[in-house]
Symmetry: C2
Subunit: 222 residues, 2 copies
């Protein structure tokens, strides 16, 4: 049994767009829809959950009607933080199999990445995609700053794939501000995190320019 949770609760204030970031069109398709398509294409029988702020539910239903889309999925109200949104979604899953938890702001996830992560999570219990840091980094230290060794760091992407029972257990904890992704929630109950090679093209849409970048990558078939 496989499931995927697509988290799209953000308000996207950095996008300067009146249209919620989740629904901005990328190659004519709302950003968040790209992820639904990707998981559905990977495995048609996969259980799909989408978490959105509740005030966007009506708009989302309209968008799907307008375009005639019918990828079955469970719509789950977003919570106060990303943590609460994911927890709401996990309540809907039974405890067998694997679940991918994915940020809706990453519409370019490839089939090979999804496959690699599910295979690794099956074996290791979890699979977290990471890519190297290709630029120099510096670390703030009080009022000053110092260089950091970039070879020691990895940029963390999504989807992050977990044994459903383990991540459900981890999400029974109270919220902590250090929970920046699902891997940090899992490891706080003592589980080691298993890193897997991510995909540099699996871009996170943060700034308006990122949409142009994403469009050019889709166009090239990368």
């Amino acid at each position: 049994m496989k499931a995927a949770i697509i988290v799209a609760g953000g308000t996207g204030t950095r996008m300067n767009s009146p249209n919620p970031k989740q629904f901005i069109l990328l190659k004519g398709i709302p950003v968040v829809m790209h992820s639904l398509f990707a998981f559905s294409r990977f495995d048609e029988s996969m259980q799909l959950l989408l978490t959105l702020p509740e005030h966007l539910f009506d708009r989302w239903q309209e968008i799907q009607k307008e375009h005639g889309w019918s990828i079955p999925h469970i719509l789950v109200p977003g919570g106060e933080t990303r943590f609460h949104s994911v927890r709401n979604c996990l309540h809907h899953l039974d405890s067998t199999g694997l679940v991918a938890i994915h940020d809706g702001a990453r519409p370019l996830l490839s089939q090979s990445l999804i496959n690699r992560l599910f295979l690794a999570a099956e074996k290791e219990g979890n699979a977290i995609p990471v890519v190297p840091v290709n630029e120099s980094i510096r670390q703030a230290e009080g009022a000053t700053n110092k260089p950091a060794d970039r070879s020691l760091f990895r940029i963390v992407q999504t989807p992050q794939v977990f044994q459903t029972s383990l991540i459900q257990q981890a999400y029974l904890q109270p919220y902590q501000p250090g929970f920046t992704d699902d891997a940090t929630v899992l490891e706080s109950i003592g589980k080691p995190i298993h890193l897997v090679e991510g995909d540099p093209a699996n871009l996170k849409i943060t700034y308006p320019a990122d949409l142009l970048i994403a469009a050019s990558l889709i166009h090239s078939g990368s």
Copy 2:
């Protein structure tokens, strides 16, 4: 007196291209030429230096002839590492004024970024462009790994602008492997580093997909 050093000594093995990375065409113009144009446009009287591996000198002269370009610049043989290449260039400058040191793999530097950095360096002695880390990061720790607080880190870009006399003094030191950029060389003689807001669109060309990204950003006028 202003000068700019464009460092293009890399071999670019990640680009999978028989054409040296420096000369790959971006919107019909070799990557490295974009930086020469940017500095020349910013200040026509600026002294420009380009460091390339010596075996590419003839090819570079041919490329310029083919396209009829005549931006005056001093061509400096690249050294064993980036450090040695920059040091070779610094020998050509007198000690007054400011110098920008820029990676040729960042062809998208904007006029406003160059301006911001020269203004800050005039006041502070150096100016290093940085951007926030927009994704979660993890740090390797022996065989395991742990989350890192991304808000403490900044991604370092170029151009990095310095009082010429100070950076020349710093480059009198012997090479150390920790010298990943010019800021690390300067601070190793005890100078504090002054961070300035960089530009998320000031992309570093590392992978083939980055060229597509860069082309789409130029097209949009970002």
